[in-house]
């Protein structure tokens, strides 16, 4: 950790620069795009499934944490239902409303390598290790095994339905089989060539297959070829040598005029179905663009309406816009790389200087270091006491942590997995740290979607099913259920954000249907509902002095809602009327925390992955003509000129790859950084490529 003096026009802060949170994102294994709801489902190596909203700036709406030994190999949407299959041999359906696994059934075919649903939404096909393609009928509440297609000798690696639902193409070792779904018999067997030279002895894995409505089958294989086959004759039409290594993933656009292929070199190659002679209909698949945004294997690609989404071993989700499909260029259509989850993984006990880091399988509690004296702005301070890791708390069971919290006083730690919720009490006498698990928890605390302590650490708020919030009082004697806060009406989507007011009067909850409910804790009734905005809430906080709810949305809009008056504040209306600065709106990561400076009530502190921002509500708003990042300019001006040039947004870009920013009561900031370079060094080595001039 370093301590830095951060002094500028936006005020002076001592900064704890925390770099000991070794968060490692998990690699992306599968992608599935739902055209109708515009949701992208992402499966990661650790078994977690995330759902991104494609038209809402790719906000990460839902996270279903994974579990140990639960590798997902394929994802498939059937209607609005999401299924996954993995090497444990089971097919899993997810409950997206409550963000948990609905059920898992075994396919009895050994590890499953691929899963594909037909367009009609009636059947799921899975490819198994034992060489069978198994068809499952999709019923109202569950899926049911229907039958096997002709069993093959080798494992089924990839599957694709013909859009009509009558044929299935299956990629295997060294060959591609085309099945008639009616009869279950194989119609064609097409042999994929092995590589030349030494790779002759290695079998060719058909990693990915795509079946087009015109009967063309496109395959990507481990030799590095993208091959086009005719299903009528079972012959090869054309082959493109894309890479020297593997082509791991293929995806075709909805109207079948574009195809993307992801390779293990980390490049995405686009093919387009264009007419060779303009104005005529004889079209051919031509290799066109190449996108290089990854350093490691691309395990999954998906072409959505306006962009190519790719993910792989380097754990970043890359959204590369296709400019020819975009009507109007805007911030929503920029290249986007999603590295970190859009949730907070760090909780901070403000009063006692403790940080709680949430890893998938454990929690870590750290005490912040202390520094000495004052330095000149921008300089590092001498660290008097080093930060200290107090606790390493392993999760019981196989499930990964869904959410966690530490009370402001630092006495209580709570976490929840999909199945259990555990509350611990921390004893801290001198240097002896011990925890005790609170054993008798009320029944309502079996599992939570989001957890939050009240500011005086006397109550725990636990968001649970049906958008309800359970209120539990905690004390030395034990833990007592107080009541349940239920919204008056509306959706039952899971709550992903909770915010409690400083005076203990109010608590606000936000769910993935963009609803924000405010509850009065004295009456334990719903107080009001903030008008629903079209974009998801990414962060919110209640102002300690005015009790106004400040909300940040995925589209970078901000609202301030007066709880007492049940209406937007004047400042919020001014912001909406004047509009935000172009540069602010074009930022591509959501704000993850809203803080207030008790010493300066007009200051609101926000942060996203790249910057820290203080909004001074007393200053005029910038319009599109004013210089947005004006810190340097202001420095060069005199005191009087500064006044006329300053505006409400003061942005600090000193810190990068920010996971969390917290304002401590002693006016110091804690900035938790996780440099992407550090993540890159911990990734497995990529495929070695010859670089020019090396």
């Amino acid at each position: 950790m370093m301590s830095t003096d951060l002094r500028s026009a936006m005020g002076e802060f001592k900064v704890h620069r925390v770099r000991f949170f070794d968060y490692m994102p998990s690699g992306i294994r599968a992608l599935a795009f739902n055209q109708d709801t515009e949701r992208m489902a992402v499966a990661r190596m650790d078994g977690s499934v995330e759902v991104f909203h494609c038209s809402d700036r790719f906000f990460q709406e839902k996270i279903i944490p994974g579990r140990e030994q639960f590798g997902i190999e394929g994802l498939s949407w059937v209607g609005e239902r999401l299924f996954s299959a993995g090497l444990n041999g089971g097919i899993t359906e997810y409950d997206l409303t409550n963000q948990k696994v609905k059920y898992t059934i075994d396919a009895y075919g050994g590890p499953i390598w691929t899963i594909a649903g037909n367009q009609q939404g009636t059947h799921l096909a899975v490819g198994c290790e034992d060489g069978t393609v198994k068809l499952f009928e999709v019923n109202e509440d569950n899926i049911q095994f229907e039958r096997n297609l002709d069993r093959q000798k080798s494992r089924i690696v990839s599957l694709s339905w013909h859009p009509s639902g009558s044929k299935i193409a299956a990629g295997m070792m060294d060959m591609i089989q085309v099945f008639n779904v009616e009869t279950g018999h194989s119609m064609h067997r097409m042999l994929a060539d092995r590589g030349v030279g030494t790779s002759r002895s290695k079998e060719c894995v058909v990693w990915s297959v795509v079946y087009l409505s015109d009967g063309t089958i496109i395959t990507g294989d481990s030799v590095g070829m993208v091959k086009l086959w005719d299903d009528q004759t079972g012959t090869l039409i054309k082959s493109h040598n894309v890479t020297k290594c593997d082509v791991l993933a293929l995806s075709v656009s909805q109207n079948e005029d574009s195809l993307v292929a992801g390779t293990s070199e980390g490049i995405v190659v686009q093919f387009q179905f264009v007419s060779m002679v303009l104005g005529k209909d004889d079209k051919e698949w031509v290799r066109t663009r190449t996108f290089r945004n990854h350093t490691h294997d691309i395990r999954a690609v998906a072409e959505i309406t306006t962009a190519v989404v790719s993910g792989g071993m380097d754990a970043q989700l890359v959204v590369r816009p296709l400019l020819d499909k975009i009507e109007e260029r805007s911030a929503a259509s920029a290249l986007r790389k999603i590295h970190f989850p859009h949730r907070r993984l760090v909780a901070c006990a403000r009063k006692s200087g403790l940080m709680l880091f949430q890893y998938p399988g454990h929690l870590e509690l750290w005490r912040l270091g202390e520094s000495e004296g004052k330095g000149i702005p921008g300089s590092s301070l001498f660290v008097k006491r080093n930060p200290e890791k107090l606790l390493h708390l392993k999760v019981k069971g196989e499930d990964h942590i869904r959410c966690s919290a530490v009370s402001p006083c630092g006495e209580w730690i709570v976490y929840s997995t999909a199945s259990t919720l555990r509350l611990y009490r921390l004893h801290c006498d001198n240097n002896n740290i011990s925890i005790t698990k609170i054993s008798k928890l009320p029944k309502v605390l079996s599992s939570a979607n989001q957890l939050c302590f009240s500011s005086d650490s006397s109550h725990l708020f636990s968001a649970s099913a049906q958008s309800s919030v359970h209120l539990v009082s905690i004390s030395q004697s034990g833990c007592k259920f107080v009541g349940t806060l239920k919204p008056k009406s509306g959706s039952h989507q899971a709550i992903h954000l909770l915010a409690a007011s400083e005076d203990g009067k109010w608590v606000a909850s936000a769910n993935s249907d963009h609803e924000v409910h405010i509850y009065n804790l004295q009456t334990r009734k719903a107080h009001c509902t903030v008008p629903i905005y079209s974009s998801a809430v990414t962060a919110m906080g209640i102002h300690p002095a005015t009790n106004c709810l400040f909300m940040m949305h995925a589209d970078q809009q901000m609202f301030e809602y007066s709880i007492e008056q049940k209406q937007y504040t004047d400042w919020s209306r001014t912001v909406q009327r004047k509009g935000l600065h172009r540069l602010w709106v074009e930022r591509d990561t959501p704000c993850l925390n809203v803080m207030f400076n008790p010493q300066n009530p007009s200051h609101v502190i926000l942060h996203d992955m790249y910057m820290l921002c203080i909004i001074d509500q007393s200053l005029p708003l910038p319009d599109d003509k004013t210089q947005f990042y004006n810190q340097l300019t202001l420095k060069s001006l005199t005191e009087e000129q500064r006044k006329s040039h300053s505006h409400a947004f003061k942005v600090c870009k000193t810190f990068k790859d920010i996971l969390c920013v917290e304002l401590m009561p002693d006016q110091s900031l804690v900035v938790v950084e996780r440099p992407l370079e550090d993540i890159a060094t911990q990734l497995p080595a990529p495929i070695k490529q010859k670089k020019f001039a090396t």
Binding site: N241, V277, V286, T288
Partner: protein
Amino acid sequence: MVEQSEVRVVRCGGSKINLRPPIISTDSRFVLCASGDSVKVYSTRTEEWLHSLQGHTNQVTGITLNPANHLQVYSCSADGTVKLWDFIDGILIKTFIIGYPLFAIYVSEKHDGIVFLHIAMDTDSKNECFQLVAVHLPKSAEQEVEAKELSAVSSRISPNPSCTAFGREGQYIAFARHLQLNVYFFRKQKTYSFSLKATDKKGAKNAFTCIACHPADDCIATGHEDGKIRLWRNFIHTKEYTYSTQHWHHNAVNTVCFTPEGTNLLSGGIESVLVQWQYGAGNRKEFLPRLGGSILHVSTSSDGQLFCTSHSDNKITVIESSFKVCGVIQGLVKGDAVLTDLMIDPRSKALVLNGKPGHLQFYSLLRDKHLYNLDIVQQEYIYEAGLDQFEVVKAAFDIKGYWLATVEERGQKSSDLEFSLKLWAYDERTQSFVLNTTITAAHTDRIMSMCFSSSEETTMLVTTAEDGQFKAWCQGADADTQQDQNFWSCDFVGSYHNLKPTNCSFSADSSLLAVSFQEVITIWSPDTWELLTTLCQPPGVVRDLCFGQLSCSKYLIATTTRNLLCCWNLLTCALEWSTSVEVSKLQPDPLSENVAAFSYQSKHTDLFVFKPNEPRPLFTHKNVCSEKMHRAVFVPREEPLNNCDESSQWLNRSQLYFLTQNMDLLTFSTATEEDRMLSSSKRLVIDDSVAVTPFYLLLGKHRQQQQKLNTPSHPAADKPQQPQGSLTCLLLSFPSLFFPPEMEMESSEQEMNSEKEEEHSEEEMEACDSQQELRAQGSVDEVTPKLSKAQERELKRVRKTDFSWMAGLIDSKP
């Protein structure tokens, strides 16, 4: 006979053959390329220069085969004309006068009778602005037609002609400019534009550098500044257009070209590697590396069997489709800059200057042929920008051509300068120069100039350097070295008041050495190394100095930086005359008293030719070129002309070549020369109509050679080495009176020829005859160029009467 003897600046000999893409004739027998003011025709098999198509009066800027007749070629020139030629016979068929300077020509099969031209827009502002226009060529029987039907296709195009190309079946024309690609469809009359960003985050430079269209598919290949090649498709949509990118070249792609079937794409750039991309197969490519200089253009023959690449070192390489080099046509090698002076090798009379990096090249201006390269540096040259590598910066020959001194240098930009002085001896056995002595620390600082003494007996080299010293080098004076080998060693070190010497020069008889030390010229006796006298004409540092030649050898001429041209009489040690003129280069003619001075004033260079003993210039030529001029040389003519006109007399003995800053080798031609050239080409035409009889063969051969004799001064004319003692050689000495009167034939067949012209050409014939005669008598050196007109006429009359007598003499000889 030389009433209107006008002296004109021409590009003649040593011109660029890489200015525009070469074209291969349909039968793959000929390669045509634009070269200076003419189009040269080479054989693809023998790489020999066959003939050139002459008639343009300015730089030829584009050639293209006539799509309607594959034996004809269109050429366009900066003189504002498009000419149609029969390139096999070298006949000018038609001239279309456009009236604007033209910069490139494009044709398409589907656009019959229309050529597309680049013309410069007349703008007031200085920034270049080019226009692509379609010109309808009028069909008329006349030789010279004015084509005034211009229609603009695009008003703003790139000045680079590689950035325009015709698409499939001539349906569209694609042209790129900076970052924008435009495709104009003729049928729809609509332009589609596509733009690239100037740079991206990775630092790509996306500006277009070249363009090519697929012959069968609608696919446009573009080359870019950062070495990328993009293949554009679907370009009838402003949004759904798409392109794929290939990246192999590490620097700008200079040229892209599809093979005629469209199966392959050829590309080339600074790497001098020809890359063949398989069309539609992504990354599959073949390479042909180490072709020499960077590739500027690639073209293919219409059957796809031959490729032609033209290179920055003024070379055309003919390549078989199997990627085997089958021929190299080398022009005068032109690097980025010529650091050495232009020199004449006294033995071969070849022009010597910097050639390939680290080499000196020997170039025959008479045959317009590159002879050989002499590797001076003897180190591998690395083709990469920004590397500091050894370059030959100075070179000098002794008077007989036995010795060659060179200076190579590295680190001009940085402070740590490395240089070495090398002396090369001519080896009779190998007919080449052999390294004799390498002196690595000849001076402690950069060598500024050097010269050999001009005496016949002892050869001495004098070098001046920035360390304030000049040194004289002699052969074999060092006792330490072995006696039988004659190495060079230092003989004398001289300095003058610690001033920096700049120039040195020996007088014609080597009895005096002049070394200039800033403002002072010191005169030394090379025998005793005694400082004889100093001459000084302040203010201004001496920039260039030279001794007068022949009868004027008592004069020393010097120029200073303060625009002063001074002439001292060395007998009186007094200033003879001086004049205020800014002279950038002084060049004495070794064969006459004339001295040429190039003066740079108000953005153009003027030429003065004067004799040291006469204060009035013999000849002035204003606005020779627009740049400053630093290199010039007098090239001795093989046979002197006998221009009597005062303004062109100085060109009789030798021809003045000079090199502009953008590496154009220019020379001066007189009207007489051009007339001969023209008449000879006219005669060529008529020769073809004569039936081929045994007599004709004999006669025809003679006549051809005679024509060559008639234009001896013209270096572009072919000069095959004649086997001595053959029949033709014998015929050569016959006066032409014995042969049928061809002039009458000509005039009867070509009605256009007026009476006057006929007379004129007859006179010219006689002049040539007299010249032949003189040559036969071996009295070339006695011809004094200064004859009064009356004397000349008298002489002619005498010769005319002499003819029968002479003939009789020769007749009776065998």
